[in-house]
């Protein structure tokens, strides 16, 4: 009855969040005194999973699963859980994982807790801590079903190495026609750019930038840091930046290691959305901006002067620390 973890891949390669959910699931398996099995779909190399505590990898290879399909992937995981007799299944908080989770929960009669931030507080009753009210609070959730589905928040647990060696086993679940009643016809993915979901650093800007033509320096700052770019709600509402960049309570949550906010005043809805980020820096010319109460580091100054200088300083730093 091993713990089962779904380790996601991108173009066949394990995502960093896959290693994080594996690390977490290993912690759960240790608590329960059991082993850890991972499931991958069309992965090219799964060796790295052993380093994060996975003892067995069920590798699924099927061309029909090249595009993500929530129903079909949920079906794969359900059959893997049955095969391993798993009572705890761990998934990430990626868009795909959150898409398949409720389907899987129903199919396994499992209670599902999303946005979980720590190892279970107790095994029986099974209690986990998760964020609620869009990061304005936490709640302790008790899952009372026999089978439990845990969705781990991104960047909440980190990577933990252990010295297991993973064995692999081909796994061929039976998929049925009904799994494919929703079909992907096209995928439009930004390539060569760090996404907010995967980013360790996010550089975000607001109305203080005065217009979309001034985003060049924000993109350059993001480039220097290997960061994703994001924006506040008014900026996306005015069409200065695409909706996909809107972070906050009704936009995307950000759980980065470093969040840099330029010309964003820090409305409560914005702060809620980025609260899970570890270190926050604010650059704003208004010392009364609420963001200064929520950030770790701040610069009171004109963004148009501070940002270009910061880019230069960071370039120097990168050159010296390369």
């Amino acid at each position: 009855m091993s713990v089962l973890v779904y380790t996601e891949t991108e173009n066949g390669k394990l995502k960093k969040t896959a290693l994080e959910v594996a690390s977490y699931a290993k912690g759960v398996a240790d608590m329960l005194g059991t082993s850890l099995t991972a499931v991958t779909v069309n992965a090219t190399d799964t060796a790295e999973l052993g380093k994060y505590g996975v003892e067995k990898v069920l590798t699924v290879t099927n061309d029909k699963l090249n595009n993500f399909n929530a129903k079909a992937y949920a079906d794969v995981l359900k059959q893997a859980a049955a095969k391993e007799n798993s009572k705890v299944i761990v998934i990430s908080s990626s868009a795909n994982a959150k898409f398949l989770a409720p389907i899987l929960a129903i199919n396994l009669n499992a209670g599902y807790a999303s946005n979980v931030v720590a190892l279970p507080e107790s095994e029986s009753p099974f209690k986990v801590k998760r964020t609620a009210f869009t990061n304005k609070a936490f709640n302790i959730t008790e899952i009372s079903t026999d089978v439990k589905l845990v969705g781990l928040s991104k960047n909440a647990f980190g990577l933990k190495e252990s010295d297991a060696a993973a064995t692999t086993e081909d796994f061929t679940p039976e998929l049925n026609e009904g799994d494919f009643s929703t079909e992907v016809t096209s995928v439009d993915k930004v390539t060569g750019k760090v996404t907010i979901a995967d980013a360790e650093i996010v550089v975000s800007a607001g109305r203080g930038l005065k217009g979309p033509e001034n985003w060049g320096m924000i993109e350059e700052l993001a480039d220097v840091l290997g960061a994703a770019t994001a924006c506040s709600k008014p900026v996306s509402d005015m069409g200065w930046r695409p909706h996909g960049e809107h972070v906050g309570q009704t936009g995307k949550p950000v759980a980065a290691n470093l969040y840099i906010a330029v010309g964003i005043s820090g409305a409560i809805q914005h702060l809620a959305g980025i609260n899970a980020s570890k270190v926050k820096v604010v650059i704003n010319n208004d010392p009364e901006a609420p963001f200064f109460k929520a950030a770790d580091y701040g610069v009171v100054g004109d963004a148009f002067e501070v940002v270009p200088q910061l880019i230069e300083k960071l370039k120097e730093f990168k050159a010296n620390n390369a």
């Binding site: 993500f68 990626s94 868009a95 795909n96 959150k98 409720p102 389907i103 929960a105 129903i106 499992a110 209670g111 599902y112 807790a113 999303s114 946005n115 209690k127 801590k129 609620a132 009210f133 304005k136 609070a137 936490f138 709640n139 302790i140 959730t141 008790e142 899952i143 009372s144 929703t182 079909e183 992907v184 016809t185 096209s186 439009d188 993915k189 907010i196 995967d198 650093i201 840091l225 509402d237 909706h243 996909g244 009704t250 470093l258 409560i268 809805q269 609260n275 270190v279 820096v281 604010v282 770790d296 580091y297 610069v299 009171v300 501070v306 200088q309 910061l310 960071l314 730093f317 620390n321």
Partner: protein, 246 residues
């Protein structure tokens, strides 16, 4: 086309969040409740289908009488009728079971990707699975032709287009309509809403699989360190040596 829009009754986004009863309950004192923002985008899209494609729109909520003003607001925005399932929404699975009981006759069910209070993000997908409907989550665009639907869903780092058919459940969000398309009820709408049917349905038996047993507020933030704008070397050094994030 018969559309059902699932409405959560949630604290306004500006609400300060507090707890009572030894941090075991959400403190509703002084809190303004609104239509969950993710649901409101869906409701507005449903209005578009009503106007352009002759759809009928029913709104539904699982909750006590205190949620009726939220349903009336949805009626004032233009929904044709409302259903209130008369029970306390204990968890996502329980709510999905209640909705499944009234959702079977609808072609299209639009819900928000998550409520902004508990952020469970599970009701739409569970509902779809319970009634054996198709499901698209994080939906940012939806077009319908006959029984066929084309949906665009936000994925990490982009979007993808999906083709599917009715019955269909959508987990919607901003993008389904623009913020500027959201409708504020006018006086005529409010007057008409008073006459529209708000049917109260008794709940069905269902288990509660998860329970929020306690709440915590995030730890208080330490004081901010301010760096003068002419000394950004210090900021770089703090981020490297102290925060260790670059």
């Amino acid at each position: 086309m018969k559309i059902l829009v699932c409405i959560s009754h949630v604290p306004d986004t500006t609400s300060k969040i507090n707890f009572t009863d030894g941090d075991s309950k959400f403190d509703t004192n002084g809190v303004q409740f609104v239509i969950n923002p993710n649901d409101e985008f869906g409701l507005t899209r449903a209005m578009w289908f009503k106007e352009k494609q002759g759809a009928t729109v029913t709104v539904v909520n699982v909750g006590g009488t205190e949620t009726e003003p939220t349903l009336r607001k949805a009626l004032a925005i233009g929904a044709d009728e409302a259903i209130r399932i008369n029970t306390n929404p204990t968890d996502g699975f329980f709510v999905a079971k209640q909705l499944a009981n009234v959702a079977k006759d609808f072609d299209l069910i639009i819900a928000g990707r998550e409520s902004i209070d508990y952020n469970g993000g599970m009701v739409p997908g569970m509902l779809a699975t319970l009634i054996d409907a198709n499901f698209v989550n994080n939906c940012i665009s939806l077009e319908v032709e006959g029984e066929n639907a084309t949906a665009i869903r936000e994925i990490d780092g982009g979007k993808e287009t999906l083709k599917t058919t009715f019955p269909l459940v959508i987990g919607g969000q901003k993008g389904l309509v623009e913020e500027s398309d959201l409708k504020i009820p006018n006086m005529r709408g409010i007057m008409m809403a008073r006459k529209k049917a708000l049917n109260v349905v008794e709940p069905v038996d269902a288990s509660t699989n998860t329970k929020a047993v306690a709440f915590e507020k995030p730890a208080a933030k330490g004081a901010i360190k301010l760096v003068p704008p002419d000394n950004l070397d210090e900021l770089v050094s703090l981020l490297h040596n102290e925060a260790k994030v670059i």
